[in-house]
């Protein structure tokens, strides 16, 4: 197996997570809605996991809703808050949101909502004062992500949430990239709702969370057996939920060490890559995810670079994982003021628990070689 440097796209599940999942898949027999002891065991396992998740966020267990993924959690927040807001039909959103939020908001916009798309600075960061000015009496909700999945910039979410609380506007944050990688506390950031996804913090795929602050009203967007307080209907993915509980427990216990390790590798990569002429870092130099490196490589298109590195055993990402199949410049990078060509030349390297200093050093060397090779190929530089 090669060297995996694409943790922002998905993280391999922690072996302890797998073990917990497997235990449930093998041993627990029963639908959590069933009243026999197998059902009760399944129900209890879910409630234990809910406590672990709550603990990681500084929340109460009853504020945790398990969903089928990060996108589902984001969609539930966006549509649930909008529909619960009645006559209010104005939304404030950042242009750098993940498609799970951005496209949901756009769907509302197409349906008649008025949306104020905030500006971001060259680092992709929202200005709290501009944010405050955008809020209106008829604002149904505002949403700004905790940390960006492409360039890794961390937003001043605690401040934004506080502004919203003062103004009485519901505030949602997409914390999919942040939870398990940064301290995320709903005590410190008075958000109304917060979404994250299991497979981004060494948890299982196919399970996510929406934190819903006590007292916040969400209109249901799915219908069925009434699971998760009627907000996420359907038989619970017990094994996945238990795995996520374990992932959250581990994240809480190991967060500091994880961050220290990731920062070390990240900074090593940043300094190695930016030494190559024409390679520049995107996103905020300090206020960024501990595991994220995002660079534009002058004169090289990202796709070829990613594939050449892949052939050498290094897995990195181009653009955003979710739309990387298409040849479209990322709206995030465009919003930050990058040109199309810079956007197409962007590569994302995201480190993880299991990476080593030696691996990232080898990576920097390979990267340098691959860039040189592709530049030699380019008709643009050596006309």
């Amino acid at each position: 197996m090669g060297i995996y440097l694409d943790h922002a796209a998905t993280t391999p599940p922690d072996p302890r997570v797998l073990e917990a999942m497997l235990r449930h898949l093998r041993e627990v027999r029963g639908n959590p809605s069933s009243i026999h002891s197998g059902g009760v065991a399944a129900r209890n396992a879910i409630e234990e996991a809910r406590e672990e998740v709550a603990r990681l966020l500084g929340a109460e267990p009853q504020e945790i809703i398990f969903t089928g993924g990060g996108t589902e959690a984001d969609n539930l927040a966006v549509f649930g808050l909008a529909r619960a807001a009645g006559e209010k039909r104005h939304i404030v959103a950042a242009p750098i949101e993940h498609p799970a939020v951005r496209n949901a908001v756009k769907h509302l916009e197409a349906g008649g909502y008025e949306v104020t798309w905030l500006e971001v600075d060259a680092y992709g960061v929202v200005d709290p004062e501009a944010f405050r000015r955008a809020l209106r009496p008829d604002t149904a909700f505002a949403t700004v992500m905790w940390a960006n999945n492409e360039v890794g910039s961390v937003q001043p979410v605690a401040e934004l949430a506080e502004i919203c609380r003062e103004c009485g506007v519901p505030f949602h944050t997409d914390a999919v990239q942040a939870v398990g990688h940064l301290p995320v506390s709903v005590e410190e950031a008075p958000v109304f709702t917060l979404a994250f996804s299991g497979h981004k913090l060494y948890g299982p795929p196919g399970v996510g969370v929406l934190y819903v602050r006590e007292g916040v009203e969400l209109a249901p967007v799915s219908f069925g057996g009434g699971q998760e307080r009627g907000l996420r209907n359907g038989t619970e993915n017990v094994a996945g939920i238990c795995g996520l509980g374990v992932a959250c427990r581990i994240a809480r216990a190991e967060l500091e060490e994880r961050m220290r390790h990731e920062r070390e590798l990240r900074d090593r990569i940043i300094s190695g890559l930016t030494r190559i002429p024409g390679v520049s870092l995107n996103g905020h130099p300090e206020r960024r995810l501990p595991n994220n490196v995002h660079v534009s490589v002058d004169g090289v298109e990202a796709e070829g670079l990613v594939l050449v590195l892949d052939a050498q055993g290094f897995a990195v990402g181009k653009g955003s994982a979710c739309s990387s199949g298409e040849h479209k410049a990322s709206p995030v990078l465009l919003a930050m003021g990058l040109g199309e060509r810079e956007a197409f030349s962007a590569v994302r390297i995201s480190v993880g628990r299991e990476n080593t200093v030696e691996e990232v050093d080898r990576f920097v060397e390979a990267f340098s070689g691959a860039v040189a090779g592709l530049r030699e190929l380019s008709p643009l530089r050596t006309g």
Partner: protein, 134 residues
């Protein structure tokens, strides 16, 4: 996503570079995607004696340029000019993903321009030799 043949051409592109004083020079760019391919050819006795290529763009574009250089190397100009979209596709292992077919167009176009350039120069030379001015 991409076939191994394509990846192979991407990772180890053949005939990279630009011939000095080529007999033909052709470049093509795709406005929408910004990709550019350039061929330089040396022709001797009506066959492609040498070819150099450069490419900026997506992986299929880079790989198709390389594959094309192999297909035309040593071939007569006529046969080089007749290489089809399908031939090129086959050399890359088959179908390209949706939306990537224009990489083939780009490469074919750049080659045809290089061959045209050669023909034009030949014609010009012939003119000069024959002293003919229409």
């Amino acid at each position: 996503m991409y076939r191994p043949e394509l990846i192979e051409h991407l990772v180890r592109p053949q005939n990279v570079g630009e011939l000095s004083e080529p007999d033909g020079f052709g470049e093509s760019g795709h406005a929408a995607c910004g990709d550019v391919v350039r061929f330089t050819v040396r022709i001797s006795n009506g066959t492609v004696a040498a070819v150099g290529y450069k490419a900026y763009g997506c992986a299929p574009c880079i790989a198709a340029g390389s594959a094309m250089t192999e297909l035309i190397q040593g071939e007569s100009i006529i046969r080089a000019a007749a290489i089809s979209r399908e031939d090129l596709r086959r050399a890359l292992g088959g179908e390209l993903p949706e939306g990537k077919e224009h990489a083939l167009t780009l490469v074919l176009d750049a080659l045809h321009r290089a061959l045209e350039d050669y023909w034009n120069r030949e014609a010009e030379e012939a003119d000069l030799v024959e002293g003919y001015r229409g």
